[in-house]
């Protein structure tokens, strides 16, 4: 009996690995747990402009937020933003990755140029694009005029109809390097001999892409989608720098609205409620990512 207990103990508690990861586990718990707890606390409290808790607010912060048309619109727009940027990025990245895989003279340079935007901070990139879209001296209007495509100038950032699509375009441009990197990794894992076999069977390049490349790239595309969704969903600088969610709240996504609530209007409690709502959504995407990872052990 005692032997049996000893045996099960030895099997049940492999102490050494746990002891070894204990420090980082504690660290991670503290680093993740403390802010999470703080946000949870703020979201159910009546919080002053300076972050001092004045008392409990129950669920009234959540009630106010969910009833606020600005929040509802921002939520929908966050969906458009995330879908627009991620779908656009992917559509642009697959051909770019395919081209960059082909051996051609100067490929190293081309790869560098594609990756370069990654090295620039998002806020800086957004400022540069804001200048480019300037109605009076921006290069976008100047180029369009030079090409004879229009006369006068377009006030790109003056209304959501022009500003928001352009913000999505900028979001795409800054997401492409990361996505191309993932896809290039995926492409290099596809063995070359299957294409030779397909060619012998008379497959055209289009068939090769549709029947071979794309399915084999599937897991990588999945990962690119999920990681981009999480990242773009939370992306603050582009919209804040270019339109600050305006005019008339027409370009707010959740994260810019959250910032405005907390730091412009002085309502940290409601901002905490918004960030919890965002956390739930992102958590959903993360769960999806974990499932994909387990199914296709590539990333």
């Amino acid at each position: 009996m005692s032997a049996a207990v000893g045996g099960s103990r030895r099997r049940a508690i492999p102490l050494a690995p746990w002891l070894l990861i204990l420090p980082s586990l504690v660290l991670a718990l503290v680093i993740i747990g403390y802010p999470f707890f703080e946000i949870l606390r703020l979201s159910v409290s009546n919080v002053s402009r300076f972050g001092l808790v004045r008392g409990s607010a129950g669920l009234s912060n959540f009630a106010t937020i969910f009833g606020d048309p600005i929040f509802q619109n921002a939520l929908l727009r966050t969906g458009t933003w995330t879908f627009g940027v991620v779908a656009g990025t992917l559509l642009a990245s697959v051909p770019v990755a395919l081209v960059l895989r082909q051996p051609f003279y100067g490929r190293g340079l081309a790869r560098t140029i594609i990756m370069l935007p990654w090295a620039i901070s998002l806020a800086m990139a957004a400022i540069v694009w804001l200048w480019s879209f300037n109605a009076d001296y921006g290069m976008i209007n100047a180029t369009l005029r030079e090409l004879g495509l229009m006369q006068g100038s377009v006030q790109w950032m003056a209304r959501a109809e022009t500003a928001f699509p352009m913000e999505i375009a900028v979001g795409m441009i800054v997401s492409i390097p990361f996505t191309v990197t993932i896809l290039l990794g995926g492409l290099s894992s596809i063995p070359g001999d299957i294409y030779e076999a397909a060619a012998i069977d008379g497959a055209r390049p289009w068939h090769c892409f549709w029947r071979l490349t794309l399915p084999m790239l599937g897991p990588f595309i999945n990962i690119a989608v999920v990681l981009n969704v999480i990242h773009v969903f939370n992306s603050f600088p582009i919209i804040w720098v270019m339109t600050q969610g305006g005019p008339d709240n027409s370009t707010h996504i959740l994260v810019t609205y959250l910032y405005e609530l907390s730091f412009r209007l002085g309502r940290p409690g409601q901002a905490a409620a918004v960030s919890l709502a965002m956390l739930v959504i992102v958590f959903g995407f993360t769960a999806l990512y974990m499932r994909l990872r387990n199914k296709d052990p590539v990333a």
Partner: protein, 407 residues
């Protein structure tokens, strides 16, 4: 051997003296907002001069960008690492007082000290009869006009009424010259519309703390601005222009009229010295009125060096430091002594602003002012973008403002 021991002893004694001195010297931490490139050097200089006269007190200056100031103070306050004194927007004061973090200053001020200030500037920082802030920076708003252009339009002395503005802008438009600068992006979009609201006799908040801007005067003011936009009398796409953008357009001669603060005078002198411009009061509707803003210095309740901090404030609010500050930043004098300096008395352009002060509206210290500003900004923008009618938009904004005004 003996020598070595003596040396050690001397060292110890030295260290002891040094430590003792350090313990006795008090350090006052002050946070100031970045107004211009001159702000930091000015306060460093004042701190050095003050230290020379009061060797026992060190003043440490921290310059913070205006946009990040409230956020920084918030973080510092909740972490208990806030400075002893700080410049703040006077309109934030109410929240400071509500949270019991601002020290009332009446105990430090005698009648003579109070008398240093120009009356109206002290008022916005008085809450429930107690003074919590000293007005360190003040500005009012008036209309800048491009003399060449307005002369061509038949108003060599600038427009006096909103009708003049419309007439001038129409004539200028016919000559392919730019018109009235209208801002509808960034901070103060609300204020830019209040100018017109006040000039038609309206008000933003009623005495019983309800939103009062959705009045006939308000509708008239917004309808007028909207008609400027529709007729092309403003720059194209006002929702794309912040106050800074408009000021730049004015310097480049690409709007002919703009309402803004006195500090544009300094900017024009530096960046567009050849620009021929004049300054007139905010155009009249039925009356003339302007907006005045103060920034205040407050002392925090948890400061451990209050007397020393006050001593520094006392020094800052004497004549020479004040003149240097106000001149350097292009603000208006807040103390009587500095106002007598020839720089202010002989300056025709600044005088326009000073003369406007008796009828100036200050941002009231009420809770919900920021929410009101946000609601009005949204309403004004939606009207300019053809998404709403003035009347309906203002009513909706008033309902939103009432949710937080005075609460």
């Amino acid at each position: 051997m003996k020598l070595a021991r003596f040396g050690l002893l001397a060292c110890a004694a030295f260290a002891g003296v040094a430590l003792g001195q350090q313990a006795r010297a008090e350090t006052v931490h002050m946070t100031v907002s970045y107004y211009s490139a001159a702000t930091g050097p000015y306060f460093e200089k004042m701190a050095a001069e003050f230290h020379a006269a009061n060797p026992g007190i060190d003043v440490k200056i921290d310059v913070v960008n205006w946009d990040g100031l409230l956020q920084k103070l918030r973080t510092d306050i909740s972490g208990g690492t806030n400075p002893d004194i700080s410049i703040i927007g006077t309109r934030w004061l109410l929240d400071f007082v509500k949270d019991d973090i601002a020290e009332p200053l009446d105990g430090y001020m005698n009648a003579d000290f109070k008398d240093r200030f120009i009356g109206p500037f002290l008022k916005p920082a008085i809450i429930d009869g107690k003074a919590y802030g000293l007005p360190i920076a003040a500005s009012a708003r008036a209309m800048y006009y491009n003399k060449d252009m307005l002369t061509k339009a038949g108003f060599p002395n600038g427009p006096a009424t909103w009708d003049d503005v419309a007439t001038a802008a129409e004539k200028l438009k016919a000559m392919k010259e730019p018109g009235f600068g209208l801002m509808a992006k960034g901070t103060e979009v609300d204020v830019y519309w209040y100018y017109a609201l006040w000039s038609y006799g309206g008000d933003v908040v009623s005495p019983d703390l309800k939103a009062a801007f959705a009045s006939p005067a308000g509708v008239q003011a917004l309808t007028m601005y909207k008609s400027f936009v529709d007729k092309g009398l403003t720059e194209d796409g006002p929702t794309n222009y912040t106050r800074e953008d408009l000021q730049n357009l004015f310097k480049q001669g690409r709007v002919s009229m703009v309402i803004t603060a006195p500090f544009l005078i300094n900017q024009i002198a530096k960046e567009a010295p050849k620009l021929d411009y004049g300054i007139v009061p905010v155009p009249k509707g039925t009356t003339s009125s302007t907006y005045a803003v103060t920034d205040s210095v407050v002392m925090f309740k948890n400061s451990k060096v209050k007397p020393a901090a006050w001593k520094f404030l006392d020094f800052l609010f004497t004549k020479e430091p004040r003149v240097e500050f106000t001149k350097g930043e292009g603000f208006l004098p807040t103390t009587k002594a500095e106002a007598t300096d020839p720089y202010f008395t002989n300056n025709e352009r600044l005088k326009v602003f000073v003369d406007l002060l008796p009828t100036a509206h200050f941002a009231p210290t009420v809770t919900g002012w920021e929410d009101t500003a946000k609601a009005v900004t949204d309403a004004v923008q939606s009207v300019y973008l053809d998404k709403a009618q003035p009347d309906a938009a203002l009513k909706q904004a008033a309902a939103r403002a009432d949710e937080s005004l005075g609460k």
